[in-house]
Every structure is written in structure tokens, then in C-alpha cells.
């Protein structure tokens, strides 16, 4: 599903919510007028957009643009100051993060944070545990097998017993993905996955993302330098200073003067 094929559809949606507002059914994840203030600082300023089901959306902006803060508000780490977040048609504003994960939203951390006291498969297993106090230990074998399957899905099938310390950088990313996938998400927010990866690894990971999308998961990928990203995504939202400055296909984004001025510095990828 390349950018050009859906060009006609997305053209109508370029620019800030042209028809005014967004509603809960405009996509799997819909933000309306999301604002987050910390004391005197406005990190996110009236941000509105919709993420279509099963698309791969790029969420782009220079450092400090408010991308991580937006993620935090969406997934529930911090409640927003104002605005609404809809997930899968339901209001998710201010819902605690663990509950958003239960509803089907998962995220990876930019600074990989695996649990260092256990190996790869045990790390992934954590995501499979249900939020209930009493679960039969007897299910462990089945849970273990599912964890192994997940590891294989993200390409860690040969490193099951290794600890995170022993994994290379790309392996840690795969572990992050494995843990997130264990929660059976419908939407995956991926925070700066390509940092520190070689060209080959970027291509591999992109292929993995495409596979996940084919399996029905919507992906929102955050990055600040667009390397490798523009080939992967269907659409992009570009923000700066907490507001949306552009929206459209990668081709349109590349051409957009506001974007170029804002931070590409006139250069492309």
C-alpha cells in the first residue's frame, strides 16, 4: 500500500481538520484538540488528527516538538490538560495507561527498557500476563509457548534464553516490539525505532512492521529524522511546537514548504 495509491483519498484530508472537528469514529485513534501544559510551558497545543485503521502513520517532528508528550497523553501516562482522545470508538481521555494497554493500545519505549533480571522469553511473557491477581500456574506452559511464538515473530527465536544485556541494539528493539505485541494490541505506538540501526537493520525492521500491519495492527511510528521512515509510512503528521503543521502522504510532506522550513532545513531525507 504505497503512498501514491491512496493519494486521492488523503488529499482531501491535508491540513488541519478541514471540516472542523474529529469524531470518535474517524479512525482507530482520534485526537481532538489535545492540549498539555506543564506550568507555563505548553507542550502540546490543540492537536487534532485521526489514525486510520491498519495504516502505518508517521508522527514526525523535530526534537522537542511534543511527540513524546503526545504519546504520553494518548496512552495515559499523563492526563491531558484538555482535549479528547478516542480509541476504537471509545473515550480514552485520562484513562490510566495500564487500562489503555488492556483496551488494545501498546507502545514501545525509545530508551529500551527491558527487565534486566530475566531473559528474553520471560520478558515477553510479562506482556501475556492478564491483569488478574490469581492465575493458575498450570497455564505457564501454554503461556511459555505463546511467548516463544511471539519471540519468533519478531525475529528473536534464536535468542530466547539470552538476557537483555547480551542483545545487540537491534535485538533490544525487537524485544521491545515483542513485549508490546504480547499485549495483543490493535494499535502500536512505536517511539523512534530506527535510531542507532544500520541500513540493513532498518530495512529488516520495516519489513517486520509491514508484516504486522498485514496482520491487522495499526502502527504509529514516531521519528525525528525521517530516515527510512518515508518509504514505510502511508501518511504522516508533522508537528512542531506542539501543533500540527502538515499532514499528508510522504510525497506531499516532502514538498510542503512549512515542513521544509520548520526543520528539514530545505533538505530531504
Amino acid at each position: 500500500m504505497s503512498a501514491d495509491a491512496v493519494d486521492g483519498e488523503t488529499a482531501a484530508r491535508t491540513g488541519t481538520g478541514s471540516d472542523g472537528s474529529y469524531g470518535p469514529d474517524d479512525g482507530i485513534l482520534v485526537l481532538e484538540d489535545l492540549t498539555k501544559r506543564f506550568g507555563g510551558l505548553t507542550a502540546v497545543d490543540g492537536l487534532s488528527f485521526a489514525v486510520e485503521r491498519e495504516e502505518i502513520l508517521g508522527f514526525i517532528g523535530p526534537n522537542g516538538a511534543g511527540k513524546s508528550t503526545t504519546f504520553d497523553c494518548v496512552i495515559g501516562t499523563h492526563p491531558p490538560t484538555s482535549g479528547t482522545v478516542w480509541y476504537d470508538g471509545e473515550d480514552g481521555t485520562g484513562v490510566p495507561a495500564y487500562e489503555m494497554v488492556e483496551r488494545g493500545m501498546a507502545r514501545t519505549f525509545q530508551s529500551f527498557r527491558p527487565l534486566r533480571d530475566r531473559n528474553v522469553v520471560e520478558n515477553v511473557k510479562l506482556g501475556l500476563i492478564r491483569n488478574r491477581l490469581f492465575s493458575t500456574a498450570g497455564l505457564r506452559r501454554e503461556t511459555y509457548d505463546r511467548a516463544v511464538a511471539l519471540c519468533e515473530r519478531v525475529g528473536l527465536g534464536d535468542q530466547l534464553e539470552q538476557t537483555p544485556d547480551e542483545l545487540p541494539h537491534a535485538g533490544m528493539l525487537r524485544l521491545e516490539l515483542g513485549r508490546a505485541l504480547a499485549t495483543d494490541p490493535g494499535l502500536l505506538l512505536i517511539d523512534e525505532p530506527f535510531a542507532g540501526l544500520s541500513g540493513v537493520e532498518v530495512a529488516d525492521v520495516s519489513k517486520l512492521f509491514l508484516t504486522l500491519r498485514e496482520e491487522g495492527i495499526t502502527l504509529v511510528v514516531v521519528d525525528h529524522n525521517m530516515r527510512g521512515l518515508l518509504e514505510l509510512i502511508d501518511r504522516a503528521i508533522v508537528i512542531n511546537f506542539g501543533s500540527k503543521i502538515a499532514e499528508g502522504t510522504p510525497a506531499e510532506i516532502r514538498r510542503d514548504p512549512t515542513v521544509q522550513q520548520a526543520y528539514l532545513g530545505g533538505g530531504g531525507t
Binding site: 494497554v101 527498557r113 527487565l115 530475566r118 511473557k125 491483569n131 511459555y144 544485556d165
Partner: protein, 370 residues
Amino acid sequence: MAGDTSEGAGHLLSPTALPRRHQAGLLGLLALAVAPLLVSDIDTLKLTSALFLAVYAMSWDAVSGYTGQISFGHALFFAAGGYTTAILNVHYGVSPVVGIPLGVLVAALAGLAIGVPALRVRGPYLSLITLVAPLIVLQLFVYFSGFTGGEIGLLGVEQFTPDPTANYYIAFGVFLFALAVFLAVTRSDAGSVFTAIREDEDAVVAAGLNPAKFKIFAFVLSAAVGGFAGAVFAHTVAAGALTPSQILALTVSIEVIIAPILGGMGTITGAAVGGLFFWLLRDQLRQMETVIPLLDVAVKQVDLLVFLLITLGFLFFLPEGIVPRLLREARRLGSQPSEATTTDGGRSPLEASLDGFRDQFERLRGGDRK
């Protein structure tokens, strides 16, 4: 066994197929089961007390060793259980059969009373609160000594039976029960969540799990089992008189911290071993006639001091605990490959707890330290 990976459902099959450490554990249990038949009555009494300490230690480990919420006042829960049933028994004639479950209930509520505020308060501040709560209760106890017996203790508590062997087996039953409960919880998924909370609470949230729920659960479970032991203690070892020094004093809280650390924190079995070892060591010192050179005094006259110094030595030179150290040594000498109490190359529970504690500490102090 914190890093115990799947051994499948077949691990209960045959004793000889078990990993060596499990075999050792079973042998230990067997030894405990037949002990009264082999030793004198006095020694049976001592082992009974040691068993209670082991249960208290396991209860501490279940919350502090596993979730990293370090409690400095666990005696509060034992006393909640013990004194509830004792007071009901002495002042209102309530039978232990009713008193003990009520004691468990009160202890569980105490666990809630500590566990809920604990969510708001982190690291050292949490420990400070846990340190102080039983001191407040103790002082109130002394103030209302007419009702509670104060420092002298509550007299006239019904004892199930004066027979030392019977008391021993009651204690052993409590020990087995506690061991079973804690092992079941910590080896199940809840246990993985507990240790994950200790490692990185945000990761737990990201896995769709509510850390608050599990943290409170750990406290309440720990308090309930500890309170159960305290309640049974009141009607067995207390021998008719329940005093704060047995069950509420600061020394008790300190003992249940040191025992699991000595034995190996975050393993439950280490706490059990630590509790038994600790109590028996203390008892040995109390009787030792050996005279210390230069000071010209018998060990037994200064037993507490010697004991504290030995503890200090252990804490300093063997911080990971006896059981993990023994397992490591056994691994080196023996042939069993991956039997570490921690996953290969991973961090030990003590390290994880300490690091997590330190991180919280640094954030609290608002500094950009180390």
C-alpha cells in the same frame, strides 16, 4: 528461584528427577518433620520458635524481597494477628478457633492500611513509615496497658496444649502452609509481576498490568499470613503470656529483615532458611561458654552484641545471602548447569531491589546524583 523458567507440568513427577536444590529442600523438610522425635523437649521448643521466625521472614520476603517495597516494621502485622486473638481470648473469652481467623482479618486490614499509603510514598520514605507505624502502635499499647498488658504482656492467653511436640507440629503445619502459599504465589504469574514491579514499574504498566493492585495484594497477603502465624503463636509458643517483645518490638521487625537477607532475599526459601539459621545461631550464642580473650567474658554474657557483630559481618561480606551463595558454590563444584537463583547473567533480586530503591531515593532528593 526467582528466575525459574518453565519446567513444565512434569516437575512434580519423581523426586530423583528434581533439580538438586529441590532435592535439598525436600530433605530439609523431611528433617524438620522428624526433628521432635530425635531431639530433646527443650530443643523442640526452640525449633518451634525458630519455625515461627521462618514464617515471619517468608512473609517479609514475599512483599519486600519480591516487590521491592522494603518494610521496616513487619512486626505490626504479626502483632495484629497475635494480639487480636489474645485480647479477644483474655477479655472476652473468645475461642482461638474464632480468634485466629479474626486475627488474620485484622492483620490483612493492617496490610491494607500500610499498602495503600505506600502507593503514594516511595523508597526510603515508605520504609520510614513502616518503621514508625509499629512504634506508634507499641506506644499506644503501653499507654493502654490495662487492656493490652503493656510491656509485661497479656496474661492468661489460652494455649492449645502444653505438650512441646504437639506445639511443634502445629508450628510446622503453619510453616508448611505459609511455604506452600508463598511458593504458589511467587512461582505463578503474580510472582513475575511482583519482581517486574521491583525492576521497573513502568514496564508493568506497559504490559497492561495495574501495579497498584499487585503491590497492595503483596502487602495484604504478606500481612495476612504473617498475622496468621502471629495468631497461632499467641496460642502456642507464647505459653499463656503474649508480650510485645516477642511480636511487636523493633527487634522483631529487624530480625525479619536480616533473616531473609542472610538467607537470600527474593526467594522465599532463602527467607525460610535464613529464619531458622538466624534463630538457632542466636540461641547457640546464648549458651556459649567460650571465653573471649582480652575481654575475659563468656560469649553468652554478651550474646546479643556478638550476634549483632556477626550479623554486621554477614551483611557486609555476604550481601547476597547464604542460600544463593551456597547454590553458586554448589554449581561450581557440581555438574548442574543453569541452577542459579538468578537467571544467568541477570541481576540478583537484592541488587534489583537496591537499585530500584536507589533510583527512587535519587528522584526524591530531587538531585541529579550519580
